[in-house]
Every structure is written in structure tokens, then in C-alpha cells.
């Protein structure tokens, strides 16, 4: 086992860190729970600068705009972007579409779609959920029916994050040749301007805009299908880059944890000893430090197993499940320490830590990314431990 970066990886991390410190002033940093258009645009600017150095898709082949490095470098990028609180932009393209098409797409699809992502020229959204079905990604209402060489889509999707910014949509739809719940799902890439797609705003409680998306006789050429029919769920579930997304989430929360630790070391609200000297606070900080380390290791394990998948593929679920719990534990602990100040929002003159603690707590209420905790547990038990599939 090797828990360290290679010298080249360490150098990349150092250069990247210096670049981000220089390029991301504090007033442009992302704030948890507060997604603004200005931040999004700044995130795109940073992405363009990263892409110019071939750092955005650093772990992908040079012919597609990457730098030919490994998944580890891609993980370093995600963790650093998170830790430097760079506003999110382009992450669906980078962490979902690029690796999936790289693994399962045709050579024509690779030519068409990969390079623009690596160069930060396009934005993607992901439409993996629909009303009352949830992110176990087994839709039955949105159907893609074959019509000669085309597909015709009818139905709805919801929680399509970032759709108004997106040029393309990565979409799961039922393909009717296989009516069984789990395997009749196929993956498509669609231009969002295709006639028949209708986006209705569905604002989220962190300022992000998602959409209800309806499809009314949307006609796609057969070349929009990724891989083969009915394997879409498998393609999206086993994407090792899901662990890279988790590293990004870890990095951002870890940054706020470190800031909070500094705050506890420096602040003595009662005029006496610093918060961190209080035995109960010290104890909680140590527990959360342990939690952060565990989250980091589980996420990196999800990245490092790529190429030698150890059988059941649920490593990423361990990381995502742990992460969703740990960030909530941290936010609740920090809010307890901050008392009523923890309820102040960014913009209040007395808000501690820019409101990031309250923001993490609110964003933690969004449990649908990569599946809710209970779906992760189902997957770990049934796919990972081989326990029976339950009839629900």
C-alpha cells in the first residue's frame, strides 16, 4: 500500500495550489449555500485558465485536450479546486461525461464530445432523476422509443441541475426493449436546444437553479446513444470519477473545517481562553478531524482502485455515504459551538466564517447527489455484501 503522491504528483499539486492561490481572491471564492451567477462565471474563467495549461482534464489523453496523466492527478485537481473554494462550473462534463464517453463511447463520440470539455468550451447538465423515482437511476416514465435509426423521447425529468447553463444534457431514459426495472435504462447525450425539450425553473435552497425538464417527441439520432442500449445504469453507477466528485466535496468541506479550527484557536468570545481550549470543543474538533481523515481516505480509495476494481464496485458508495454523514456531523458540531451566530447568513455584519457553516448545513440537506444515504446503504449491502435484493 502506498498512501503518498509520487514526486511528479506532488509537484503538480504544489504548482496547482500556487496557481489557485494567485488566481482566486477571497471575494471570488465559493460560499456554501450561496450559488450566484457571478461565482459561476468566475468558475468558468478559472476553468479556461486551467484548460490552457492542460490541467482541467489532466488525467485524460493529450489527443482529447488532457495532459495524459492518471486519475490520481485528476483527483488532486478536484481536491484542490474544492479546498481553494473555486466556484463549481463544468463539473458534470469533467467528472461524469468525459470519463463515461472515454470508457464506453464510440470513437466518433470521443472525437466530437471530449476535447470541448477538456478545453472548457461547453457546459453539461445531467438528467438522471425523474419525479417519484429517485436517483437509483431506474426511470420508467421517461421513455426513448426507437423510430428507424432515431430515438423519440417522451416524459419528464426533474432536479436537472445547471440546465440553463448547459449546452448538452447527459440523460438516462428507459428503452423499451427491456421492461425490467433495472436494466431497461440507456444513456444519451443530447443538445439542450433540441426541439421538444422544455425547461421549467425549479430553484434549490442554495441559490442554484435546477429544472423540471419535459420531453415532447424529442427526436435524437441513434448516434446520441452512449455504449449499448440498456446498460446506462451500469455506466453511470460504476464511473470511478464519482470518487473524484467526492474528493471535490471533501476538499471544500475540509477547507471550512480547517478555517473553523483556526477560528476556535483564535477566538475567545468570553474574553477568557480560546474556544479550542475548552475541553468539549477540543474533543469535538478531534472527532471531526478523525472523520475528515476517514472521508479523505475512503474517497482516495475510490480513485485508486480504478483499473483494478476489486470486484463489487461499491468502494465509491462507502466514500459517498461516509461523506454525506461526516459533513452533517461537522456542520452540526460547528453550529453548536457558534450558537445563534451560526444561523446568520453571508452578508450579515456579524456572520462567522462567511456563513459557510450554515451553508454546509443547508447543502447537507441535499442528499440526492450520487444517491441518498439509504440508496448507498442498499447498494453496499446488496451489491457489495451480496445480501438479497429486496422487493420494493
Amino acid at each position: 500500500m502506498d498512501f503518498d503522491y509520487s514526486p511528479d504528483q506532488l509537484q503538480f499539486k504544489t504548482e496547482l495550489r500556487e496557481f489557485l492561490i494567485a488566481e482566486v481572491p477571497e471575494d471570488k471564492q465559493a460560499v456554501f449555500g450561496l450559488a450566484t451567477e457571478a461565482q459561476y462565471r468566475f468558475g468558468r474563467e478559472i476553468n479556461l485558465k486551467l484548460a490552457a495549461r492542460r490541467w482541467l482534464a489532466v488525467g485524460f489523453p493529450e489527443e482529447y485536450g488532457g495532459d495524459g496523466k492518471s486519475l490520481i492527478e485528476q483527483g488532486i485537481l478536484a481536491e484542490e479546486l474544492g479546498y481553494r473554494l473555486v466556484p463549481e462550473a463544468g463539473t458534470v462534463g469533467l467528472n461524469v461525461v468525459l470519463p463515461t464517453i472515454m470508457a464506453f463511447g464510440s470513437s466518433e463520440q470521443k472525437e466530437t464530445y471530449l476535447s470541448p470539455i477538456a478545453k472548457s468550451q461547453v457546459e453539461y447538465c445531467q438528467a438522471f432523476s425523474e419525479p417519484n423515482i429517485g436517483s437509483d437511476r431506474a426511470p420508467s416514465g421517461l421513455r426513448a422509443e426507437r423510430d428507424v435509426g432515431d430515438y423519440v423521447l417522451n416524459g419528464t425529468q426533474t432536479f436537472t441541475g445547471n440546465a440553463f447553463h448547459a449546452d448538452y444534457m447527459f440523460l438516462l431514459a428507459s428503452t423499451e426493449s427491456h421492461p425490467e426495472k433495472n436494466w431497461g435504462v440507456s444513456l444519451f447525450v443530447i443538445d439542450t436546444k433540441t426541439p421538444g425539450i422544455n425547461l421549467q425553473p425549479n430553484p434549490l435552497i442554495n441559490g442554484e437553479m435546477s429544472t423540471h425538464t419535459s420531453f415532447d417527441n424529442v427526436r435524437l439520432p441513434g448516434s446520441c446513444l452512449i455504449g449499448v442500449e440498456n446498460r446506462g445504469r451500469e455506466y453511470t453507477m460504476t464511473n470511478p470519477h464519482n470518487a473524484i466528485s467526492e474528493l471535490g466535496r471533501y476538499g471544500a468541506v475540509r477547507r471550512v473545517f480547517d478555517d473553523f479550527t483556526d477560528f476556535c484557536n483564535d477566538s475567545a468570545p468570553d474574553g477568557g481562553q480560546p474556544l479550542a481550549e475548552h475541553p468539549l470543543v477540543r474533543h469535538q474538533l478531534a472527532q471531526r478531524r478523525l472523520g475528515m481523515e476517514t472521508w479523505k481516505l475512503l474517497s482516495w480509495q475510490g480513485v485508486s482502485i480504478e483499473g483494478h476494481l476489486s470486484g463489487n464496485g461499491t468502494e465509491v458508495a462507502w466514500a459517498c455515504l461516509f461523506g454525506s454523514q461526516e459533513r452533517l456531523r461537522f456542520a452540526e458540531m460547528a453550529m453548536e459551538v457558534l450558537g445563534p451566530y451560526a444561523t446568520l447568513r453571508n452578508g450579515s455584519h456579524l456572520v462567522p466564517l462567511l456563513g459557510n457553516i450554515e451553508g454546509i448545513h443547508r447543502e447537507t440537506l441535499n442528499r440526492q447527489s450520487s444517491g441518498t444515504a439509504d440508496i448507498q446503504r442498499d447498494n453496499i449491502a446488496q451489491m457489495g455484501l451480496g445480501m438479497p435484493r429486496l422487493g420494493y
Partner: protein, 359 residues
Amino acid sequence: MNFSLTSGQEILRTTAREFLSEECPTSLVRSAEESGDGHVAELWQNMARLGWLGIAMPERYGGAGRSLTDQAVLFEELGRALVPGPMITSSVLSAHIVLYGGTEQQKQNLLPGMIQGNLILTLARGERLETSSQSGGLILGGESSFVRHAGIANHIICATRPAIGAWPDTTLVLVDSQTDGVIMTAMESIANYPQYTVEFDDISLSNTAVLGEIAEGRVALEMAIQQATVVQCAETIGRCKKVLEMVVEYASSGGRFGRGSQSVQHRCADLKMALEGGRLLTYQAASRLDQGSPASEAIAMAKAQSGTLSRLATETGHSIFGAASFTVEHDMQLYSARAKIAEANLGDTEYHLDQMIAG
């Protein structure tokens, strides 16, 4: 960055699992517990022949010269099989104290015998062990509790502090357990092996009984404790893995839970996640020690998590097995007793959380 075992480690694991499934069934574990000394001489000799007692000891003393990471892989298997005997106490903790703290002559005298299975060592620590000098040697007095396996140990390493006004720091003293004035009282406990309160009745020792140099034992002791702490974490991982396997099998094979229960499955998933986190924390600590890089924080994190993992495995096992696991006949109770012992050994969760911050 690579979190997989090497092929050599995979072979070690497979070999150990196969050997222990044959040679260390739970019937043997139970009889060792009932015999009173928590030790099975034949199994001990077999493990010595396999090279396990000196797996991480240098080859010049008869060891296998392998890494702490390899030793952790082995101890996962020992934990899984509930192997009885003074493995951690003698072949990890005491052996490393001798290795780090002893003179060359002392290493030659002790390590080969220990590795071959002929010598058993244990450690006595505590605030109340004192040494003072006298002409031509020193005097050892005081008592120490929770001395593991003292009844079968040939030697006791005493970590002593100076009587007031004498030497500034820890002195390690090696005492033959048969010496007059060494008085042992067995402690009744939930441990599967005997622990003792050992009293040293102002024993006169020559200066050659000092392990290394007077007042220079602290570093060796701390380094050995670091090694043993990581090994204890690995043992816990193995034990908890086995608990998970047992409950998954039980909950998936019909019976009480029919075709399956989501709440039970979710408990198993939570234990699996905690196990994986613990495994990574443990091997990270082992890897840091193997590389000679700073490891204190990594070790403290591993052991702090190890305690909560032990508790979760116990709670999960007894919940899912239900009333059956409250019987002596059921193996689950063997695992839960050891879980508590392991949790308390070498610093519990609270202690190590505190160490993390102090570090």
C-alpha cells in the same frame, strides 16, 4: 497512491487464513480460555515454525524481516480467528522494546528464543514501578497491574521511573519472572487470557538487568508501543470483519429475517463502511511507520477509530443475532469480549483523540 495489497501480502493472508481455519477453530479458542492460561503451546510452536512470531523482526535475530504492513495483514487474520496466546504482548510489544532499547548482547539473548517460540516476554508499566541505585546494581520496587500473560512469561520488562532524586527518565529493567520477590496475583476479567497484578518486593538486580542504559528507555518504549498499537488496530479489523461476515450470512439465509430486512442490511452497510475506514486508517499508520515518516497522528487516528469500530461491531452483531448471541454457546460473545479488551488496550478512543490534538 495505491491502496491494494501486494501479491506477497495476498499470499500471506491466504496462507494464514487456511492455516488458522484448520489449526485454530473456535473449539480451540474456547478450550484455551477455559484452561486458565489463555495459551496453546502446540499452536504457538506451529506459528513459530511459520515465522509469524518474528515476522517483522530483523533476519539477523531469526526474524522474517518483513514490514509492519505485512505484520498488520497477518494480525487481521489472527484477529479474525481469535487466536489465543501472547502474540501482541510478547512478539510485538516486548520484542520491539528489546529491539529498540536493548544492547546487542540482550537482543542476541532474547530475540531468537522469542522468535523460535521458546521465550515469552511481557511488559509491566505504571506509575508505581520504581528503581533506585545501590552499590553494584539497583533495586526494583512497586507494583503494576494489567500485566498480560505474566503467568507464562519467562521475563518481565519493567518500565520504571526513578525513586525521587535519582535518574531523570524511564529505565527499562528485565526481570526473570521466577525471581524471589516477584509476586503475581491473577486479575479476574473478561479477557480471554490471564492478567496479573505483579508486585516487586524491593528486588536487588545487577546493572546488566537494565535494558539498554539507565534512564534511556522512554524512546524505545514509545516506539514499541506505536508498533503494537497499529498491530492491535489490525487485529480489531480482522475481528470486526469476521463479525460482519457472520451477520451477513445469518441475515441472508432466511430464518428470522425471511427474504431479507432493509434495516438489517443498512446496519451491515454501516459496519462495512466503518470497517473500510478503519482499515485505511490502520494501513496508513503502518505505512508511515514503515517509511520512517512522522506517524504519531496517523496512529492516534487509527486507534481512536478502532475503539468506535469495535463498539459498532459488537452492537451490530448482538442486535442482528438477537437472544442467541447472549448464550455461551454462540460465538458472538467471544468477539464482543475481545472487542472491549482491544478497545482498552494501548489507549482507548478518548485517549487517542486527545493525542491527536496534542500532536
